[in-house]
C-alpha cells in the first residue's frame, strides 16, 4: 500500500485532486478505446474497401460496392434472386428465429413468473430449476440437446416406444428450425423469468386487495392490475431478448452449424464464415454494419423505454 502511494502521491501533486479522475479512468479507457471503440470505427473502413488482405493498407477503397453486393436482389422476398443469397437466407432465417424465439420466450417467461409469484411450497427450488440452464454455456447446451435429439437418442427412443416412427430432428429443415428456437428458449427463459418476477413482486399488494374489494375476480385483477403495472418490465424484457436473439450464434453453430443446408444459418454465422472461412472481409464488415444498424435501432428503443419505466 505504502509503496503504491510512493508512485501515486507525486502524480496527485501534479494533477491535483479532481484531475486524478483522469488517472482512474485511464486503464479502462485505454482497453476500451483500443479493443472496442477503435474496431468499431475501423469496421466502416472494412465495409467500404475490398481485397482479401486483412491489413488496412493493402485494401482498395470501393465505396458502396460491398453494400450494393449485399443488396443486389431481383426480388427481396426470394433469396435465390440475390447475388449474396446466403446473406438473405441468413437475414430471413434470423427474422423468423427472432419472432419465434422472443414470442415463445416472453409468453413462457410470463407464465412461469406468474406461477412462481404464487404462495406455494418449494418456490425457491422451482425458481432455481428454471434459472439453472441460464448458466450453462451455449456449447454445453447444444451438446446436451444434440445428444437427446439424435436419431438414436432418447427422444426418438420414447417416440418408438409409444409406437411412432423415428424423426430426423436435426436433419429435417423445419424440425431443426423448431429445435433451435426451443433450445434457445430453454437456455434463456430463466433469466427473463427472474426479471419479470422482480417486476411482479414490486406491484403493491394493496392494489389487489382494493381490486378484490371492488369485486374483481382473478382474471379481472390480472388484466386490470397485473398487466398494466408489469408493462414497463415486459417492454424491457422484450427489447433485451430481441437484441440477444438477433445475435444468435454459438448454440446453433455447435448444434447444426447452420444446417441442414442453410436452414439454420443466421446473421452472425454468415459474418463469421464470410470473414474467416472465405476471407471476404469487406462483405463481412458490410454485413456487420447492417447488423449494427439493426442493433442500434433496438438499443435506442430500449433507452427510450428505459427512460419511460423506472425498472431499467
Amino acid at each position: 500500500m505504502s509503496t503504491l502511494d510512493l508512485v501515486f502521491a507525486p502524480l496527485q501533486r501534479v494533477l491535483g485532486v479532481q484531475r486524478m479522475g483522469y488517472f482512474f479512468v485511464l486503464p479502462n479507457l485505454l482497453i476500451f478505446g483500443i479493443f472496442i471503440l477503435f474496431p468499431m470505427l475501423l469496421n466502416f473502413y472494412y465495409g467500404f474497401t475490398a481485397g482479401d488482405s486483412i491489413l488496412p493498407e493493402n485494401r482498395q477503397f470501393v465505396g458502396m460496392e460491398n453494400l450494393q453486393t449485399l443488396f443486389a436482389c431481383g426480388n427481396f422476398l426470394d433469396p435465390n434472386t440475390c447475388v449474396q443469397d446466403r446473406f438473405w437466407r441468413a437475414a430471413s432465417n434470423t427474422f423468423t428465429f427472432v419472432v419465434g424465439q422472443v414470442g415463445l420466450m416472453v409468453v413462457l417467461a410470463l407464465i412461469t413468473a406468474l406461477a412462481l409469484n404464487r404462495q406455494i411450497a418449494g418456490r425457491g427450488f422451482f425458481r432455481s430449476v428454471f434459472f439453472y440452464p441460464v448458466l450453462i454455456s451455449p456449447v454445453v447446451v447444444a451438446l446436451i440437446w444434440k445428444w437427446l435429439l439424435q436419431e438414436q437418442g432418447v427422444l426418438n427412443g420414447l417416440i418408438v416406444l409409444l409406437g411412432g416412427e423415428r424423426v430426423p430432428f436435426l436433419t429435417d429443415a423445419n424440425w431443426a428450425r423448431f429445435w433451435v428456437i426451443f433450445i434457445s428458449v430453454w437456455a434463456q427463459m430463466g433469466f427473463y423469468t427472474l426479471i419479470l418476477l422482480a417486476g411482479l413482486q414490486a406491484i403493491p399488494k394493496d392494489l389487489y386487495e382494493a381490486a378484490s374489494m371492488d369485486g374483481a375476480g382473478g382474471w379481472r385483477s390480472f388484466r386490470s392490475v397485473t398487466l398494466p403495472l408489469l408493462m414497463p418490465t415486459m417492454l424491457v424484457v422484450l427489447v433485451l431478448s430481441l437484441i440477444r436473439a438477433v445475435q444468435v450464434f454459438d448454440q446453433v453453430y455447435v448444434l447444426t452449424t447452420g444446417g441442414p443446408g442453410t436452414a439454420t444459418l443466421y446473421m452472425v454465422q454468415y459474418i463469421f464464415q464470410t470473414a474467416f472461412d472465405r476471407h471476404n472481409f469487406g462483405l463481412a464488415a458490410a454485413a456487420s454494419l447492417v447488423l449494427a444498424v439493426v442493433l442500434l435501432i433496438l438499443t435506442l428503443g430500449q433507452l427510450r423505454l428505459g427512460r419511460a419505466s423506472e425498472i431499467a
Binding site: Q12, R19, M20, V25, L29, M40, Q119, I120, S137, T299
Partner: protein, 354 residues
C-alpha cells in the same frame, strides 16, 4: 395417508388447495422435467459403458450385465434369465454361444455338466442387469482429450480476466462518479453508448487489432479485449454514486491520498456491486465461445468451450467421451450456482443484466 395429503396441500391460512394451485404445481413440475431432465439424462448417459449408450429401449440408469465367477472358468460368466418353453424361469450363467445354441451352467450347481439350450426352443432370454456407474468414459476421456490443458486455459482466462475487469472497471467507475473534470461526461457517454455493441459486430477489426498487438493465438488476446466491459463500469458507477461524498472529504482532511481513498474506502463499500460483477464476469468468460474461437487456433491454447466444440465436430464422434467431458465442463458452474444461487438470482433481478 389422508393426513399426509392434507399436510402437503395445506396453505397459509389453512385454506385447501384450489384448482389454480393444482394447475400451478402441474405446470411447475412439468417445467422441472423439461428444464432439468435433459441435464440429468446427460449425466446418466455419461456413466453408461460405450456399448450400452445406444440401447433400445433406452434405460434411465446406467447398468452393466451381472456376471458370476464360477470355479473352473478363468473369466466371470455373464448371467441370463432363461424362460423355458414350459414357462419356468431359471437364472443361468452363459459359458459359450455357438450360433443358436448356448451352453449354460447353473451358478448354484457349478459341478454339473453345462446345459445345451437351443435358443429357438425357449420363450425368452434376458440379461441380468444391475445399476452400475461406469467411470471409464471419464478416465478414457481425460486421457484421449486434453481436458486438463483446456481446463487450465479456461481457468486462467476466467480468473485473470475477472481480476482485470474488477480492477479497471472499479477504477473507471470511481473516476467517473467521484471527480469533476473536463470531458468526464463525454467519456461516460461514449462508453455507455457502446453498452450494446456485441463482439459479433466488430469481429474483423477486433481481430486485426489482436493480430497487430501480437496476441493472435495468445490467451491475452482472449482476456484483455472484453475486460473493459461498459456494463461493469455502468453497474459500479451507479452503485458508487450512492456512496456519500462527505466520506471522501473527511478522509482527505485526514490526509489520505486519492488512491488510498479508492482502495480502502470506496472499494470495500462497493462490495455488493463488485460481487455481482464478479459473478457475471466469471459466467461471461467461462462460457465465452465466439471470440476465443477466432483468436485461438492452436489446440494447446483452446479453452474448454472451444475444445469441446472441436472434439464434437471431429469426423468420428466419440459420444461416450463427449458426454463425460460435457459433464465435467458443466460441473464448475453448477457448483458455483449451488453455493451462490441466492446472490446470483437477486443480483440479476436487481440489475437486470446478463
Amino acid at each position: 395417508m389422508d393426513r399426509i395429503i392434507s399436510f402437503l396441500i395445506r396453505r397459509q391460512g389453512r385454506k385447501r388447495l384450489t384448482a389454480a394451485d393444482a394447475i400451478t404445481y402441474l405446470y411447475l413440475v412439468a417445467g422441472t422435467v423439461v428444464m432439468f431432465g435433459p441435464v440429468l439424462w446427460l449425466v446418466m448417459s455419461s456413466f453408461k459403458p460405450q456399448d450400452t449408450l445406444f440401447d433400445f429401449p433406452p434405460s434411465f440408469l446406467p447398468y452393466q450385465q451381472e456376471s458370476v465367477q464360477i470355479e473352473g472358468y478363468a473369466e466371470p460368466l455373464p448371467l441370463y434369465d432363461i424362460t423355458f418353453a414350459d414357462g419356468t424361469t431359471q437364472r443361468l450363467a452363459q459359458v459359450q454361444r455357438v450360433g443358436i445354441e448356448v451352453r449354460m451352467i447353473d451358478p448354484n450347481d457349478p459341478g454339473a455338466e453345462p446345459l445345451r439350450i437351443n435358443l429357438r426352443e425357449i420363450q425368452n432370454r434376458t440379461e441380468v442387469r444391475s445399476t452400475y456407474f461406469d467411470t471409464r468414459n471419464y478416465t478414457g476421456g481425460i486421457a484421449s482429450f486434453p481436458f486438463l490443458t483446456y481446463l487450465g486455459n479456461s481457468v486462467t482466462v476466467t480468473v485473470v480476466a475477472t481480476v482485470i475487469t474488477l480492477l479497471v472497471n472499479s477504477m473507471a467507475a470511481f473516476g467517473l462518479s467521484k471527480y469533476r473534470y473536463k470531458g468526464r461526461d463525454a467519456i461516460f457517454l461514449v462508453m455507455i453508448s457502446t453498452l450494446m455493441v456485441p463482439v459479433s459486430v466488430i469481429l474483423i477489426p477486433a481481430f486485426l487489432v489482436i493480430t497487430q498487438v501480437g496476441w493472435n493465438n495468445n490467451l491475452w488476446g482472449v482476456i484483455v479485449p472484453a475486460a473493459a466491459t461498459p456494463t461493469g463500469v455502468f453497474l459500479l458507477r451507479q452503485y458508487m454514486l450512492t456512496i456519500p461524498d462527505e466520506l471522501l472529504e473527511s478522509a482527505r482532511i485526514d490526509g489520505a491520498s486519492e488512491w488510498r481513498i479508492y482502495w480502502q474506502i470506496v472499494l470495500p463499500l462497493a462490495g455488493p456491486a463488485l460481487a455481482v460483477l464478479t459473478i457475471f464476469s466469471v459466467m461471461w468468460r467461462w462460457n465465452d465461445f465466439l471470440w476465443p474461437l477466432i483468436v485461438l487456433s492452436r489446440t494447446e491454447l483452446f479453452t474448454l468451450q472451444v475444445g469441446l466444440n472441436a472434439f464434437q465436430g471431429a469426423l468420428n464422434v466419440q459420444w461416450h467421451y463427449i458426454l463425460a467431458m460435457t459433464v465435467l465442463t458443466l460441473l464448475p458452474i453448477t457448483v458455483v450456482f449451488a453455493l451462490l444461487q441466492r446472490y446470483i438470482t437477486t443480483g440479476i433481478a436487481t440489475t437486470g443484466m446478463k
